[in-house]
Amino acid sequence: MVDHAQKLADHVWQRYNAKERLIRYAVLLVTLMVVVWAVRDIDIFWPWVWDAPNQISGLGARMWPPSAAGLGNIVNALIETVHIATLATFLTIFLALPVAYIAAQNTTPNRACLWLGRFILVSSRSVNTIIWALLFVAIFGPGVLAGILAIVFRSIGFIGKLMGEAIEEIDRRPVEAMEATGASKAKVIAYAIVPQVMPAFFAIVILRWDINIRESTVLGLVGAGGIGVILQGSIDTFAWPTVATILLAIILLVLIGEAVTSLLRRKVL
């Protein structure tokens, strides 16, 4: 019997060695403790949690059927949303490219510009669009300008970072050749750098436009224009069937945006 157990123990198959297992258990244990802490400590009134499915389905029932009333308003707001996203993307291009230029290792004029560029990119990327919107609503008052600026300020970081990386990845050799012809810096950029980053540029701008469409649907919740404004209004007045229509409209908008994006990608790239 003992023999048999010994034999079994020899045959136990271990997938990981001792150290790996130790690390795995430690990670698991820490995760578990963090989760237990989070569950016990979080400020939640638990009976509400058990009631949540009821509440959610209740809300769903109140939304059904979607109401067609105010469809004209919704369509106008959707168009405004698209305008915000498109204009903001368009404006971003002019601001993001110079930043990308100074934030790329190989084109930056000097160290100070490099760090300035990186600082702009990081601050732009770390602040969410809706927080930018909050700030601009406080400055310029509620309205589309705050929304456009919010999206511009968030997109600078995105487009600037990716374009900067594209510039850093270019083939150095044409640059060398252009310098050898006696071309000035501006001409070297126009001939050796711009053509190389063009495809990346289109891809990045199209990608960001798609993201901006989604982002601009929420700007209205802090008063920065677009479909979010009437969504907030309908929720505040408990007009749930209208809310349902607006939600459907947003899905439609996002899907159309995706379709346009993939069409553009195929046509342009």
Partner: protein
């Protein structure tokens, strides 16, 4: 040098071949773009009177905001603690729940009607910005972190589920056939032939999702779904700009830190 005299008499010109060959389309696109810009700028309701007050207001906000004030750090810590808790619980729930939805949304292992349901759930949860989902959950279950957790869980299902479904669609089919040949049932096949192939990806995705949930948890609070966003919104609402800027700076720091940690962990795992 050999000079071709015949052609030298007629000066040859050269123009850069245009990007779009058809001139009608080329100028059409330009005109359309210009017309669009004019229409968009013209039709948007800019409130110029209010906007013109912007600069003095900006000056007031920024002079009120500097230096950032960390005196009420307790409020800040409470807010961040809640954001962390929301992010952790939502990531856990989202990553677990994304597995069944990913299986449902993978064309190669889900039957057609189930596939459509799975895809629809993923598309819908991806179409809505988390803030919109949050505002609905706040309406349904009230203010507080519960709405935040529900929101980010749905957000995670959408994101992780989509990538995971794509991963499942690309698995090595031979292992599945081997399991089936061994007489394994549907669930056994899933557990032995499908999940082991997607598990490494899933761990990396969870780290990524934890990072992006932490970012998102900072904003869902703006519509009342708990966390640091609510604290920020309150500070803004009370014109308490020095505290608001302090919160903003800490949010940026935490996001950078979490991006760094998440990147480091993912590099370790892969």
């Amino acid at each position: 040098m050999t000079r071709p005299d015949a052609q030298a008499s007629a000066p040859r010109t050269w123009k850069k071949p245009p990007f779009i060959a058809n001139p009608l389309i080329r100028y059409g696109i330009l005109i359309l773009a210009a017309a669009y810009l004019i229409w968009a700028f013209g039709s948007l309701p800019f409130n110029w009177a209010r906007i013109s007050e912007g600069l003095p207001r900006a000056a007031r906000i920024f002079s009120g905001g500097f230096p950032p004030n960390l005196e009420r750090y307790e409020l800040l810590i409470t807010g961040f603690k809640e954001s962390f808790q929301i992010a952790i619980l939502a990531t856990l729930l989202g990553v677990f729940l994304s597995i069944p939805f990913a299986v449902m949304a993978a064309r190669n292992i889900a039957p057609m009607p189930i596939y459509l349901i799975g895809r629809a759930v993923i598309i819908i949860s991806r179409s809505f910005h988390p803030v919109i989902v949050a505002i609905l959950f706040v309406a349904a279950v009230g203010f507080g972190p519960l709405a935040g957790i529900l929101t980010l869980t749905l957000y995670s299902i959408g994101f992780v589920g989509k990538l995971l479904a794509e991963e499942i669609e690309e698995i090595d089919w031979g292992q599945v056939e081997a399991m089936r040949a061994a007489g394994a049932g549907y669930l056994a096949t899933l557990f032995y032939a499908v999940f082991p192939q997607i598990l490494p990806r899933q761990v990396g995705l969870s780290m990524y999702q934890l990072d992006s949930n932490l970012r998102a948890s900072a904003v869902v609070g703006i519509v009342g779904a708990g966390g640091i966003g609510g604290t920020l919104m309150n500070a803004f609402g009370r014109y308490d700009y020095d505290f608001a800027f302090a919160i903003l700076l800490v949010i940026i720091a935490v996001i950078l830190l979490s991006e760094g940690v998440s990147g480091w962990v993912r590099k370790k795992i892969w």
